[in-house]
Symmetry: C2
Subunit: 312 residues, 2 copies
């Protein structure tokens, strides 16, 4: 036990990487202040800009929602019901989002994948693409679509430092240059896409968890049943082992990368790509048919084939 830096109460919450002890009463304020700093440093958004936040029911996105409102920003939520495990996982997570919407008194849009496209993530698994990759595409698709339809200038997501560091690590292991060029806590908006921001990008996952616990956020505690084999989880474990030996290294890693991007460096500039309308759905894309429509078609064909087989 140590003394809280702010009120001297005894506390078990000690952040080695900051050499900082904070008690459970002071923690939420400290956390919110750090997020506020990130928002300002990266000029993510202003008080008069409406923000649409992708919420999953997990600790990170719900924590971010509450932080944004407490800091005086205008943030609404978008929950995408993916139909995971016959809806059991999805129903639980939706309920947590609705509770938070009521607590904060803000708008929550709910999109049900089955209503929109007649398929669920459970179906998507049948086409042997990585589930997390499909899920990412689907989430980005609807987040972009609803943001444009509802005219929000900013999309926020609850990616934390562990997420960003693991993504960066994966992109470096594969040397995915186009992803490396794009990875940053804020991506400017264009005619086609809203500005994208990650206000928790410098907060460790465990700090987000402590914030959720110390500020009374009710979130879904079970991991997505499909995530256990995700490569990103393996990278996260690996980076956490490294963090245990070299405290602060994860933050150092991501910070050094983002600082390098701030400098004028050819490697770091996003390539200019031409945006066209998807021939099927009309959403902006860089190819003739967008990835979302290609995945959807693949799943629909698979389902059709299976129905035909059964009928024979």
């Amino acid at each position: 036990m140590r003394k809280c830096k702010f009120c001297s109460a005894m506390t078990g919450i000690y952040m080695r990487e900051h050499h900082l002890a904070v008690c459970k009463n002071c923690f939420p304020k400290w956390f919110e202040g750090r997020v506020a700093e990130t928002i300002e440093r990266y000029k993510m958004f202003k008080k008069d800009e409406r923000i649409l936040l992708g919420v999953s029911g997990g600790k990170d996105s719900l924590a971010l929602w509450q932080v944004l409102i407490r800091l005086g920003y205008q943030a609404d939520g978008l929950y995408l019901s993916l139909g995971i495990k016959n809806d059991n996982y999805s129903l639980d997570s939706k309920e947590k989002c609705i509770k938070m919407k009521e607590k904060l008194g803000r708008e929550l849009y709910i999109v049900d994948l089955k209503n929109e496209i007649e398929i669920s993530i459970d179906d998507a698994r049948s086409i042997h693409l990585k589930t997390c990759s499909i899920c990412g595409t689907v989430k980005r698709y609807f987040l972009n679509k609803i943001t444009r339809e509802k005219a929000y200038p900013v999309i926020a997501t609850g990616h934390n430092l562990d997420d960003e560091a693991a993504t960066l690590f994966g992109n470096l292991l594969r040397w995915e240059e186009s992803y490396l060029r794009r990875q940053y806590p804020v991506i400017s908006g264009t005619n086609f896409f809203a500005r994208k921001v990650k206000p928790l990008a410098f907060m460790y996952e465990r700090q987000c968890a402590i914030y959720a616990l110390t500020s009374g956020i009710d979130y879904i505690r079970t991991e997505c049943p499909y995530s256990s084999k995700a490569t990103s989880i393996s990278y996260k474990e690996n980076l956490n082992q490294l963090e245990n030996r070299h405290e602060g290294i994860m933050k150092f890693f991501y910070t050094n990368f983002t600082n390098a991007k701030k400098k004028d460096n050819a490697m770091m500039k996003a390539e200019e790509v031409e945006i066209v309308s998807c021939q099927i759905c009309g959403e902006p894309t860089t190819v003739a048919v967008c990835r979302f429509c290609r995945i959807k078609e693949k799943i629909m064909n698979k389902k059709k084939n299976e129905t035909e087989k059964r009928e024979k």
Copy 2:
């Protein structure tokens, strides 16, 4: 036990990342062939070019020396006696190098740090710089110096894939751009420095160990007594854990990086730096006094102060 791909003998040597089983009799030939491919792919050197190889008495550098001779290249050795742990570690390793020189019938230059500069690596530890960093500076200094004095056009070192991947990982964690620009299996020579090559850069450390064992190389098996706390060792362990879960990832990591460098990419080009002569020793450097001379001066001052204290 599996069947050797080349002679069908039963073998316990199986390389998951290549899906390849090779028996102990066929292994040396296989290993030498892979190194030959790397030398050719990166145009490291030709048969008529004299090579100076830094040898430490460890498995990697001695393995490389033997491979180069067996492949028909002209490689001589340079052993630097660093005076580690009152010479015990250094004497053992020197003896292994002398044995190899006799086996191969080539030249071995032996430089004794104490004769050259009156200090040892044990002394160097007193100035609180990281030992491995000092050791690296000293080794590079004499390798460059002797190579130029003896007019070798090529310097080779025994860095293996684990070494290169760990260095790359460290450079990426710290985003050391100038190091990232320079890291490559071959660095062209200039007016001041010989070409530098790492023919084992694509061979896993364990493959080098198997080569040493299966081709009867007597090498020093104990690690350098100062290396246990080296950050690079921690990165290596980390990458090895990742390799256990994702076989081949270390090679994939380093290969993707080197392939990205092959492409025309501004990030990947080494910066042009002006080379001047060190004001103290005359060796080529980018600053007024080279790092080697600065370290040497620091140690000498420290020793002088201690002697004065004792005499008081």
